[in-house]
């Protein structure tokens, strides 16, 4: 099966973030970046489908500056066959990113196009669904299980207190939630082999970029807690403050 996986490179979720001097993004100094968590689930899902089917091709795509090549190579070190970088400066407009991907994917002959359900950094969740629309393909979002065979697919979606099982014809676009498969560790041989796999780089056709980040701000610092006293003696003061200051009683 020919599968495209569109990935994103995002900062490590355990990083301490600072707003950049421009105020329109984060300060990337000293930050560690990696293949986005949901994208790595998508890569793993693609690899497992092709391993089970005993063949096929898994191609990874990313839109972004040259730094995305590291994440593309990571996907190849996990087992993807080749990679394509659609070169562009970082943009906040998911529709523009989808346009660039759709332009590239439309003649690719893919049976399945996978995305992470959203990215860790801005959680917009736009690119997968918008790409499906631009390609005119059925789209399933946030799949926690995915099976494909004989020209059709089934997926499970976790809902609040329930689950939904959906069926769809291939080709299709599916965005992947955690739970679909645990991403493998790139083996050390895989890391060395990834250097030799093809990575093509070409300009991204973003079109008009209409959404930009005007300003980014961190939540205000929470004031320190106050200790009012000990035992029952502190209760009247606590109640008074909850009524008059916090106004929650």
């Amino acid at each position: 099966m020919k599968i495209a996986v569109c990935i994103k490179r995002t900062p490590d979720s355990e990083s301490r973030f600072k707003v950049a001097a421009s105020a329109a993004g984060i300060d990337e100094t000293g930050l560690k970046f990696d293949l986005d968590d949901f994208a790595s689930y998508a890569v793993e899902a693609a690899l497992q489908i092709n391993e089970k089917g005993g063949g096929g091709e898994t191609v990874v795509y990313a839109v972004g500056p040259d730094s995305v090549q590291e994440s593309l190579r990571k996907a190849m070190s996990m087992g993807a066959d080749r990679a394509v970088q659609l070169k562009a400066d970082p943009v906040a407009d998911g529709i523009a990113v989808a346009r660039a991907l759709a332009a590239e994917l439309k003649s690719g002959g893919y049976d399945l196009v996978l995305f992470g359900k959203h990215s860790f950094d801005n959680s917009a969740g736009v690119v997968g669904t918008a790409t499906a629309e631009l390609l005119g393909l059925p789209c399933v979002t946030a799949a926690s299980e995915l099976n494909v065979s004989a020209g059709k697919g089934t997926a499970r979606r976790e809902l609040e207190g329930a689950a939904e099982l959906v069926e769809f014809p291939l080709p299709a676009v599916v965005t992947i939630d955690e739970g679909v498969a645990r991403p493998r560790y790139p083996s050390l041989k895989g890391i060395m082999a990834a250097k030799k796999k093809p990575l093509e780089s070409k300009p991204a056709q973003l079109g008009a970029v209409r959404v930009t980040i005007a300003r980014m701000e961190l939540p205000p610092e929470r004031p320190a807690g106050r200790i009012l006293g000990e035992g029952t003696a502190a209760i009247p003061e606590l109640v008074r403050l909850l009524q008059n200051e916090a106004k929650v009683l």
Binding site: R73, S77, S187, K189, I191, M192, K195
Partner: protein, 390 residues
Amino acid sequence: MLDFYHIDSVLSEEERAVRDSVRRFVDERVLPLIGDAYVQGRFPKELIPEMGELGVFGANLPEKYGCAGLNNVQYGLIMQELERGDSGVRSFASVQGALAMYPIYAFGSEEQKQKYLPKMATGEIIGCFGLTEPDYGSNPSGMITMAKEQPDGSWILNGAKMWITNGSTAHIAVVWAKTNGDPSDKSIRGFVVPTDSKGFTAKDQKGKLSLRASDTSELVFQDVHLPKDAILPSSAGLKSPLMCLTQARYGISWGAMGAAMACFEEASSYAQQRVMFDKPIGGFQIQQVRLADMLTEIVKAQLVCLHLGRLKDAGTMTPQQVSLAKRNNVSMATDIAREARRLLGANGILAEYSAMRHMANLESVYTYEGTHDVHALILGQAITGMNAFK
């Protein structure tokens, strides 16, 4: 780990990728089980196939023998990450790669390499290294284990080895023995001894208070009959096992840093959370000095290791340089583990935290692969030209 000196910026993408992959393996597979394994006094054998699949065994040996073909900085980073988990886990990989696979690679015939190395890389065949004897530790040239060549070219091996990591788990032992009654250390040769050979016994050494998540054994050879192709044909004299030790000590220099990093991270995180006298203990000067000293020593050790790795890749590294790194890094890691244990207060004695486990482990690492003191003498000789061993 806090990358205070931005050392990541001088690592290549592949070097970081290898480090990160092994780091994730250790976080997800080693750390959840290692405290219990340590208390139970068992090496977690269930990790062997996964470590093989990941490719950590003999990772710096060539791809044509089923290995990953990594450079020596990548190899060092693997050791660092494994020992961030536990010295016993790193020791397992060190022994398998640097002490069992390396001598077969360096001194073995092409047939021996083809026969053993690919299966050792996957962990299907486990190896151990027999050099130290009950009465000959820091002076291996005095060894009494002896192999006698028979008229048909086969060998009969007699003797005993002690403190052998993986000894009872191994399928093969790389045993160093004097040959044909010659007491000189020039007669020392290496032999690949299948551990199911008649007359071979391995008994675990019990009662260890250090490296508890590692098998340490005594090997006894009583008239062990070895075929003529058991000898490592290019091994020649004591220099051959010492070359293996240089490989292993190189890895230990990196490994100790991993243990130190684990202790620093644990202490730093604990200091920021543990409240005493109404504020986190990290806000008190005495703990800040502890943490500052730890970080300083780790950064220095990182720079030593990285440069040593670059020298090794360039082919210019000397055994004396390795002695400096092993001696410094293990000693600093031992100190850091102890200080971390103290910073953690009473919690520091629990297996739930890692500091005391690392502290106890590092006492073995301090002593094995050339004791701290012996490495001082190697450096002393390099400085003065005078040999203090004799």
